[in-house]
Symmetry: C2
Subunit: 311 residues, 2 copies
């Protein structure tokens, strides 16, 4: 799957992942009204609204980008109907041949991490049969519990030819509270990065230079990104925090290797709620999907320029 | 909710939480057969089997213990039908007046953590209405992203009078890889413990000595438990790792304060799969729920003796 991701990045020329994080305040009123008319102002209504919203965006951008990243929390908040909308979104994106990164940030002790890995990437046994639960292509994983929380994901990835991105340095303001602590003159995020690199070497595809164990490093921390790029040369970095969280194209160049690969930049509300920005206001709420398409094209250009400028 | 938990611990004399982590290999064959006969060997069939299994256990133990802790991963692995079984389990336990600790180990950046908090502890807005998603009483939270990943949970807990347990030192063998690293002669888990204590002081109920921001510290690390007990005097500690993971009653005494409170010990497979142990084999698979009841009573005795022995 890492090779599919790379191939699609090459084909689209866009190292971009669209974060499908549908907060209700992003969903245009006409979609909310239609969904509530059908299902009432219920959890089912909310789930229908975010599903229709997602579908419009995916239809408008699927040819431009290699991947999408649904943030499961935004679905989970609507309970069971929300999880059904999550699953529908995953399935629809896969139909459109997009690589689906489930942003689930799971992580637990061994047997429990295995259940998460099975549920989101693998197949679960039921009697003599087996089934995919949510069936994303990649998921994000929290490393706080150490190797035996991550190993079960690696095992399932090997079996299913899928992948993970492990949190190393997150994009949020307080990420430094623990991640930036110094251990023998090394920051915790560097120590986690070294571990992710080591895990990654055990998880190299038969062909290709990048492991299917990737890392998450926030766009909002370009200096740390530079350090981590060196520590983890064969690690693909998923970079959240572009746009709404403050990251800019010029901050991103250090996340890429010399081959122009090795990173994929996420933007969520910057793309899916583009129509709410002054810059794309002309599209209006009815044209929210076209606004998203325009925002993807602008983001692609911003990153391409920044990469070209580094020479 | 922390006060309800304490009141129920006092009433039952059992600082015990039963982990409802229904792996299929624990579910007695007669329940699997009945469920598969009804729904086929499908995800729905698996979900029905674990739900019936849970119901049997809850009916057998609800008067003995204050709380249960369903591990969401074990449900999530069965996709949507699994999540429906999770929700049914949460609701049923609440009907039985058990305190429900959702072992979800979520944690993300601010707005995303808020969605998790809303989905599992609070109410989500849909148009002019609002709804509970999964509606547990407590959830477990991963601290790797720092304060702004935890604050949204604290906010919802305040509004809803609920609580969280933050991972500090987990019970698994590799938990030391990051958690035991030394930062200025202090282990990372101590630093996280100090932070949890600080968060906790902002989250004290109107009456009572314990915060509704608790901590998770594994029974398998009694020495660390001793240190953390001192660092976090007003923090309730959820202690997993008793029984199957190797923790014993005598290892647990340091997790408790002098008032005999401050800790609640989780056992999962040691109770829910007791009938598979030699000790409880006489109950047979048909009597799995009675075996669970017997295992709770033995665990209660083991802890009471250990606490009495410390004088």
């Amino acid at each position: 799957m890492i090779n599919k991701l790379i191939e699609k990045i090459r084909k689209t020329g866009a190292p971009i992942v669209v974060g499908l994080d549908p907060m209700m305040k992003f969903v245009p009123e006409h979609l909310q009204k239609a969904a509530f008319a059908e299902c009432g102002e219920t959890l089912e209504g909310a789930a229908e609204a975010i599903w229709q919203y997602n579908k419009g965006i995916v239809d408008a951008i699927y040819d431009l980008v290699p991947a999408v990243k649904p943030q499961v929390a935004m679905y989970e908040q609507f309970g069971i109907p929300g999880m059904i909308a999550f699953k529908k979104t995953v399935d629809y994106c896969k139909e459109k041949d997009l690589v689906v990164i489930g942003d689930i940030k799971r992580g637990d002790i061994g047997s429990t991490s295995e259940a998460y890995a099975v549920g989101h990437l693998g197949k679960v046994s039921v009697g003599s049969k087996s089934y995919y639960g949510f069936d994303e292509d990649f998921v994000t994983v929290n490393p706080y519990l150490g190797s035996d929380g991550v190993n079960p994901f690696m095992k399932i990835c090997k079996e299913e030819k899928k992948g993970i991105f492990v949190l190393v340095k997150t994009s949020n303001p307080s990420s430094g509270e623990f991640q930036d602590q110094l251990i023998d003159e090394k920051h915790l995020y560097e120590m986690v990065g070294e571990k992710v690199y080591k895990w990654g070497l055990e998880c190299m595809p038969e062909q290709g230079n990048y492991s299917y164990v990737g890392a998450v490093v926030g766009a909002t921390y370009p200096e740390q990104g530079k350090i981590l790029r060196k520590i983890m040369p064969k690690t693909f970095i998923l970079v959240p925090g572009y746009g709404a969280q403050g990251g800019k194209g010029a901050d991103l160049v250090h996340f890429f290797n010399e081959d122009g690969l090795g990173a994929i930049i996420n933007s969520s509300r910057g793309i899916i709620a583009a129509y709410q920005q002054e810059k794309y206001a002309k599209y209006g709420a009815q044209g929210y999907a076209d606004a998203s398409r325009a925002a993807v094209l602008d983001m692609k250009e911003d990153i391409a320029q920044a990469l070209a400028a580094r020479g």
